[in-house]
């Protein structure tokens, strides 16, 4: 193990190197570009025995990734925002083909108002593409989650692609101390790439042919079962990872100071760090606040979250992705998971378009959650940090 002070993007590149990824297609897009640049350097310097294929677009990147994975090699790529949007079609080809591609998405706002700053409105809208979606909090987790992603994706019970999402700039370009494992350690965790789903010229198979309605539904149900199975696999892999590397992330989600909590905040990404500070402050004041850091949006751990939150006096969902005249995606999912309980839940949008999220911002959000539980009228959905009155 070597402790390095590196960006999360560099940490991810190290993860790809350590995972012995054999093929990396790429197309540059801010704030992801330094990942594939670093990987190119590793390859150039002989530190990574892989092929780098610069493609002409992200659509082609994912197409190459699909071909490579179907060809039987461990495949990694990274993208962001409009790049992910341009891949949209091929995302929906990779998952049903059951190809364990791992991709990092540097979360960045999509479309207009054109921005390069972080927002989750690129990855959350594709949560029905059949990929697992993980979100990470810091550089160490970016590396660790990417390594875990290969194990989860390639597990015979799962065989689905995994997207590891991390906040653009605020995480991708921030240097932190990251423990980079030795290759031998990672080799113990991650076996050789092996799937049955491989195209071999001497023993040909038809992969993802046109599938008429007589078969398509069963194929979709297989995807559903595989996603369901991944819930357990994620927990197992996190445990095994903890045994080897000494770092544990809670599997599907981490509970922070939830032991006797009465009020909980839930969310994902870098925001969680500030929320930890707020929970500590509140606890110091004698208030029973807790936090749930969601690691996976797909599979969505509905049963487990319900169990963790069913006795709360109130829950606030924090989302870095707005929904227009609707409720945010996490809120919608959590409300469904909590149906039948009488736990009041409020939705909170913040950090939109990359607006900074401070500790006082999170504290303000928490106060709304508590006010709601006291029976005060609050908006079902609050935009935090917004200038002007909210209707």
């Amino acid at each position: 193990m070597v402790r390095m002070t590196i960006t999360a993007n560099a940490a991810v590149a190290h993860a790809a190197r350590l995972a012995r990824v054999a093929l990396v297609p790429g197309f540059p897009i801010t704030p992801q570009t330094t990942i594939i640049e670093q990987i190119s350097e590793f390859i150039n310097d002989g530190e990574m025995d892989a092929e780098f294929i610069p493609a002409e677009s992200e659509h082609s990147v994912m197409s190459v990734a699909i071909g490579a994975s179907a060809g039987g090699v461990r495949t990694f790529t990274a993208t962001s925002s409009q790049g992910l949007a341009l891949m949209y079609e091929m995302l929906f080809a990779a998952a049903p083909s059951r190809l364990p591609i791992v991709m990092v998405n540097a979360n960045r706002s999509v479309g207009a108002a054109s921005g390069i700053w972080t927002e989750h409105n690129d990855s959350l809208p594709v949560r029905e593409a059949g990929w697992l979606q993980a979100y990470v909090e810091d550089g160490q987790e970016a590396l660790d989650a990417t390594l875990q992603a290969f194990r989860i994706a390639e597990d015979a019970r799962v065989r689905l692609p995994v997207m590891v999402c991390m906040d653009g700039f605020i995480l991708t370009h921030t240097v932190e101390a990251v423990d980079v494992p030795e290759r031998a350690e990672v080799d113990r965790f991650l076996p050789r790439f092996d799937t049955t789903n491989t195209l071999v010229p001497s023993d040909p198979m038809v992969m993802s042919p046109i599938v008429p309605p007589e078969f398509a539904m069963e194929m979709r149900y297989q995807q559903d079962r595989a996603m369901q199975a991944s819930l357990e696999v994620i927990k197992e892999v996190d445990e095994e990872f903890a045994g080897l590397f000494g770092r544990r992330y809670g599997g599907l989600f981490e509970e922070y100071r939830m032991e006797d909590a009465e009020y909980a905040m839930i969310g994902l990404g870098t925001w969680v760090g500030a929320a930890r500070e707020v929970v500590d402050q509140l606890r110091a004041e004698g208030r029973k606040a807790g936090l749930i850091k969601l690691r996976f949006v797909r599979p969505f751990p509905a049963t487990e979250l319900r169990e963790a939150l069913k006795d709360m006096k109130a829950v606030g969902v924090f989302e870095r992705s707005a929904s227009f005249n609707g409720f945010g995606p996490l809120y919608t999912e959590l409300r469904s998971a909590m149906y039948g309980t009488d736990v009041p839940i409020t939705d909170h949008f913040g950090g939109i378009g990359g607006r900074d999220i401070t500790v006082p911002d999170v504290r303000e959000m928490y106060e709304v959650v508590e006010r709601r539980s006291r029976g005060e009228r609050v908006n079902e959905c609050t935009w935090h940090g917004l200038r002007g009155e909210q209707g």
Partner: protein, 287 residues
């Protein structure tokens, strides 16, 4: 298109109607299905028809291959393209139905110069149903086919419908022979390979996966066969390029040879040949 024309005619006659084909792979020469519903109120169902009141059979040889009358309602009726009288037909075990027959192929060849029988069969159908009169069907056919294929073709198709209506024989058809539905592979979700990735395999007697097309002898679908007049051939290769099934082999001297295991008899080669070196001959031949 004929099903659409029927629905069109039904709407013109004051009914509610819908028509649609089987939404799947369709090729000339292969069995196809189309559906129409006619009702006095708005039709809300969009599924295929499984219990028809009326079955129109465009090719009587289907009675030997498929359980054509499966699901036909009690009192349901048939319209069949055949030179036989209804009483001479074998329509499948335990079935008896009022049936109209006409040699629609002969009529189509006479009026359209091609063996496309769908509009003629609309005429035959008019003899066993009274919701839509033949005059309205002819109007709809003339307009619909005319719009797409030109006024002359529109009129010819309407005339085809009339001639078949006029010449159809109505009687009662019945059947004794059992026609089993071909066994189809319908695996449960856990029996399917992940991602529908299929290696070469035989499942329920049917080859699947790569190379399976070799053993599915689609030449059986053919009802007319190209006859190659080598002495006329100028070796332009157009037929070879155009064959949708790659069933024409190009020989070393650039003359052609047809592979009748796979030739579905679509006739594109005969159409495209600039020197009429290919004739389509009715029937399944090998030469």
């Amino acid at each position: 298109m004929a099903a659409q024309a029927l629905a069109d005619a039904a709407v013109r006659a004051g009914h509610h109607a819908q028509a649609f084909p089987y939404f799947g792979a369709e090729r000339r020469g292969a069995p196809v299905q189309a559906f129409a519903r006619i009702d006095s109120r708005k039709i809300r169902v969009k599924s295929q028809v499984y219990e028809p009141d009326l079955v129109v059979v465009l090719d009587a040889s289907l009675f030997e291959l498929e359980p054509v009358t499966e699901g036909l309602k009690e009192g349901g009726r048939l319209a069949v393209n055949t030179p036989l009288r209804p009483e001479e037909l074998e329509i499948g075990e335990g079935t008896e139905a009022v049936t109209a027959t006409a040699d629609a192929t002969a009529i189509a060849l006479q009026t359209l110069k091609v063996p496309i029988v769908n509009t003629a069969m609309l005429g035959v159908l008019c003899r066993v149903q009274d919701l839509v009169p033949i005059e309205t069907v002819m109007e709809a056919v003339q307009e619909r086919f005319g719009e797409k294929l030109g006024a002359i073709a529109g009129r010819a198709n309407a005339s085809s419908a009339w001639k078949a209506y006029d010449g159809a024989v109505v009687g009662v058809a019945s059947g004794k022979r059992r026609i089993a539905r071909a066994k189809e592979w319908r695996p449960a979700w856990h029996e399917m390979p992940a991602g529908t990735s299929l290696p070469s395999a035989t499942i329920d007697g049917v080859e699947v996966g790569p190379g399976s097309a070799r053993t599915n002898l689609t030449g059986e679908w053919r009802w007319s066969t190209p006859f190659y007049k080598k002495d006329r051939c100028i070796r332009c290769l157009r037929c070879w390029w155009s064959c949708p099934d790659a069933a024409i082999d190009r020989l070393d001297d650039d003359y052609m040879r047809w592979n009748f295991d796979y030739c579905k008899g679509c006739g594109i080669c005969a159409d495209i040949c600039p020197v009429s070196a290919i004739d389509m001959i009715k029937g399944v031949h090998r030469w």
